[in-house]
Structure formats: C-alpha cells, structure tokens
Symmetry: C2
Amino acid sequence: MGIQEIATVTGLSKATVSRALRGLPSVAETTVDQVRRVADELGYVPSSAAAGLATGRQRAVGVVVPVIDRWFYAKAIGGVDVELRRAGYDLVLYNLGGPGGDRDRAFRRSMLRHRVDALVLLSLVLDETERAELELTRHPMIVIGGPAPGLRNVGVDDVAVAATAVGHLLGLGHRRIAYVGGQDEAGMNVAVPYRRRDGFLDAMAAAGLHVPPSWLADGRFSFAGGAAAGALLLGGSVSGCTAASASGAGSGAGAGAGAGRPTAVFCASDEMALGVLLAARRLGLRVPADLSVIGIDGHEYGAAVSLTTVAQDPEAQGRVAARAVLAEVDGARPGVLPPAPATLVVRGTTAPPRG
Amino acid sequence: MGIQEIATVTGLSKATVSRALRGLPSVAETTVDQVRRVADELGYVPSSAAAGLATGRQRAVGVVVPVIDRWFYAKAIGGVDVELRRAGYDLVLYNLGGPGGDRDRAFRRSMLRHRVDALVLLSLVLDETERAELELTRHPMIVIGGPAPGLRNVGVDDVAVAATAVGHLLGLGHRRIAYVGGQDEAGMNVAVPYRRRDGFLDAMAAAGLHVPPSWLADGRFSFAGGAAAGALLLGGSVSGCTAASASGAGSGAGAGAGAGRPTAVFCASDEMALGVLLAARRLGLRVPADLSVIGIDGHEYGAAVSLTTVAQDPEAQGRVAARAVLAEVDGARPGVLPPAPATLVVRGTTAPPRG
DNA sequence: GTGAAAGCGCTAACAA
DNA sequence: TTGTTAGCGCTTTCAC
C-alpha cells in the first residue's frame, strides 16, 4: 500500500505516480485517471512522514495555547483550524495546561521536533529562554491576543477598546465609573490586562475624572471573580467569594465606603461583566436603572442577558494569524498586520445614570 | 543538524548515536553522556518524520471534535492532551467545525495520512461510510461522550445520570417536573439527548408520574435555548427567542396553559439550566422557593450561581480515553471500559416544593 | 558495546 | 510525457 504498488500495477514509475497523485502538470490525463483509480482500488493512503522527509515540509502548524477551555482560545483555535484545513495543513495542538502545567515541556526543542512548519502562539508572553528556543527552530511564528516583544501579533488595540467602552459610558453621562480587571492566572498575555486598565484610566483622566483606587477591582478575568469584585465594589459584603480589591485600598469595608457607589462598571471581559451583573442583582440593584455595566469580548452569554460590550472576533483573528503564517511558510516576507477590529455593541445593560 | 553530525563529531556511528539518544540499553554510559552533550551543543532536534518513516509510528494521536468551543469538548481535549504529553505523543486536532463545516473532509482517508497512530473521537456518531473509512486506517479508536455502534467508548451512563437528577427532585417531594433537552445541532452525539430524556421519562414513569408532552421542552443544549425553553415552560411569553416546544403540543399558548406550572425543571445540561434560571428570574419566580432547577455537567458557571447538578468530569474522561488508546497502540487488547462517574452536587437551586 | 548497510515511502533533479 | 537515480534522517537487523 505505497506509491510503489500503484506503480507496479499501472506499469508506471513511482515518479509518475507521485506526480499524478499530486496533480502536477505534465502528466497525461489518461495516466492521471488511471493512477487515481488504481490508488482508490488499492485503498492508498499517502504517508505524510515520507513526504515530509523528502520535502522538508510537514504541512502542519503548531498552535500553542495556555489552556483550551476558555472562550477566547477555543474560538481562536477554531479560526486557525479553518484556514489550515483550507490549505491542507494539519493542526498540532500544544496545550500548556495553565499555570499548573509544566510549561517548559512544550517549549523544549524536542517537542517541536520538526513536526510543524510554523507556530501560532495564543496570548503568550515568552521569557528569554523560550524565545531563544523557539527562534532556534527557525519557524515562522505569530502570536494572537496581546503584543509580544519581537514577534508579529494579531489582536485588538486593547487601549483603544477600553477607551471605546469608557467613551460609551461617558457619552451616556456617567462620571462615577469603576473598573473590574485583574490578572488572568490561566495564562493570558500579561500585558493585556494592563493595557485595558491603562486605556480606562487614560480615558477617565482625559475626561477630567478621578478614579478612587478602590474602584479598580480584581475580577481575575472569570465569572466568579467578577461576581466577587462586583460584590465588593457595589458595597455589599463579599458573600463567600475571595476576590480582593486590586488596589489594596480600604480593607474589607467594601469599596463603596469612602467613595460612594459607582453608577457604571467597566469590565475588562464579558465573563467578569456577567459576574458583576450577578452581584448587582444579589444586591437588589437594577440594571441599567441603578447601574450600567459594559464588558469586552462579545461572549455568547452576554447576548442572552443583553450585556453591552465591545465585541472582538477571536475566530477571525485566528484566521488572519493562520493565513499570515502560512504565507510566510510559502516564502512571503512577514508584513505588518493591522489591529483586529472591535465594535461597540450597545445592548440593555447601559443607560444614562439616574438623576 | 542531524544524527549524522553528532556521529561525525563524536566519531561514533549513526547507529550508536541513535541508540544513545533513545536511551537504549547496551550503550556505554560514557558514550551516552558524550552523545547527549554533543547533541545539546549542536542544538540537535530529532525529526519525527524520519523516525516515523523508519518505525511506522508517528507518536501522535488524532482528536476529532464536532466543535471546540464547547465546555465538554474543550475539557475533554485537555484531558486527552495531558496523557498524550505524558507519553510523549503529540495531539493532532481535527475540527469538524459544526454542522456548517464540511465534515467529510476530516474523514477522508487522505486526511489521516498516517499522521497519527490512533484516534479519539468526541461525541460523534458515524455513518456507514465514515466508519468504513476510519476502519480502513486500522487505527485504534475510541469515542468519548455517547455510545457509538461498534466502537469502544468512555462516558457517563446518561440514563442513570438522568435518573439521579430526577431521583433528587422526587426525594425533595416534587411531582410536577418538566424537562428541557433537545438536540444539539453543533454535533453532540445524537444518542445522548435521547438517552437523557428516556432516563427522565423512565424515572418519572417508575414513580407513577405523568409528564404532559408540553413539559418536554427544546433547549437546544445552549444557554439561549434554555432561556427560551424556560420562558415557554414557565408560562411567560417567548420574549423574542425562538425555541419551540419539542413536543409540538399546544401552539404558542405557553406550556403552562393546560398543565399548570411545574415545580421543578430538569435540564439535560447546565448551560440550559442556566438559561432556565434566567427565564425564571425574568418571570419573577424565586428559585428554589417557587421553582427548583437541576442540570447535568458540572459547568463552572453553575457553581457561581449555586446550581444543583449531576456533575461529570470530561477532563478525566479524556484522560481515560487517551490512556486506553495509547495502550492499544502499544499492543494491548482493547478492554471494556466502565462508565465514567457522575455525582449529584446539591447546591442552592433545588428545594422541596412549596405547600 | 559498536559499526555497516539496508531500507521506511516519498520527492526531486536530471535524463530520455 | 515518463523513467532513473539519489537521497530526506532515522531505525534496525546482523556482524564484529
């Protein structure tokens, strides 16, 4: 069941069979038909290992993710996959398995043992050693979601996204706006949370607004974290959860104490916004009457609860990244990629503040 | 940068270098050390293609999923990945991309061109052709999540899981229990929804309880679908969404019309349960005072809203599947796998019915 | 404990 | 348009 069998059966040479199978020009149509037929009859399955050995191309690209079970990563992988399939490439998944997983493992040279022609890194920040090892493989590389020093990247402009969200709130007349952000231990590019927070702070400052430190809450980029942060921010008790004010400001008393209650909360992710919504409900606050909430992402759940958000499209980002890297494999010189689009989606959780 | 270089530098033969690198016995320790050192210095990266060609083993397994961005699949892939890495295998992801994606693609013999040594199929039901093509590759195969004719599978006993959920409700004193299930167009094993529904129906029948057809609602296994089904079931209007009663019973009037309102709702997934919770809240129903809700899965979001559920562990199922298939690759004969565990997690959304 | 030689299944010049 | 001849980088008898 190799190319050889087909050759013997058809009485052709391996070379011709190979050419026919790959649809190369300069092979008689009759020959092609015959080869294809015989291949089918024999149940021929090409060996990518052999082809890879001969050509030096594996027709596969590696996708390195911090974890898979996150909205952004899952969507992005899907996008990468689409383009890879279209191009006839396979997707080899390298899952770092979160903070617990032994991350190095995936970066060991031996792990990328020439199995892939290129690498797509999701939201990773690499340290020196990692960079070095990856460079060593000389593969085209690109990162999705968050800037990475020295590497091409595709993703939204996080500062601008935050500004858009704040702008919406400001436009509605809000002045008392709190922020829920924090680090994502699961491995999100560490720069992203900072850039979103900075975007928020800058936009507020530009509007001449002061943000008390206690209004910068830590939602750990998760639903539960958002709920805890919301509880803290909106003046309730912490209700069993373990979030803490990121600023380390007032201890325990609840952020509302010194600064009053915000009329709006900007969350650096929809998941956290969902949590804040939950916290607000538990405290008996009406949204958007008593409180406006806006998130970032465009998570499906947000639509169901009518969450206003600045939506991005990780699937599209995945496709762009895949195409870029594939082009590079084909010899194209790495061009500059524009920031991915993000659009304000106004739904039911934002409205002008009361009074 | 091949094994040859190391051979020349060390003055050894390719054979010995190969043996040393693989840690085979009958190689002098000094030799091993020397080879390793030189390999390191040279930045040697083994070629899986070459090794694969020579041995016929790719040290990679394929994972076929209907879609990636679902809780169950993402978790299961993570589990498979863990075991694969432990064994030094790579994970090649074949994403069918939902009902829209051209599913056949991934099943074309040529797609699995000897790149993997085994296959893990997630929640797939195969038709004759697909089975045939996959069989043709003679790879060890296993499916996770839902039975598949002729293939080994790992997963919970869906009928039993449903019975557990119903048993909990019954034990609390509920008699008027509705069901939210439906088909998952995204590609879940079609048998699963039926088995859960049957488990529900059987348990109800065993308790001598009647379930009006209008109490079998279609939640399409999604959050939004669950919300729509809940709205219908709990007597409100459909509120913009497009779910329909699966039974085709009363048209439009709302299921409550003929049968009154259920005191409890059993949902075939946590996502749908979350949706039902949302619907209940919108209708002003208090949970669990006015309505009990129970789901299946153990979704993280459920914990945050205190959803009672029958939890399963897809990550563990992934690990079991990976180990099983790896063992088979190593020549073990496919043994029978016990059903995966599922445990009732009683939280705040279930309580005895009022009055 | 180590080496020599023959492939694994394919592709890629170069000829014909 | 087709065939010949070398490998791609590794593993694996079989000798030594």
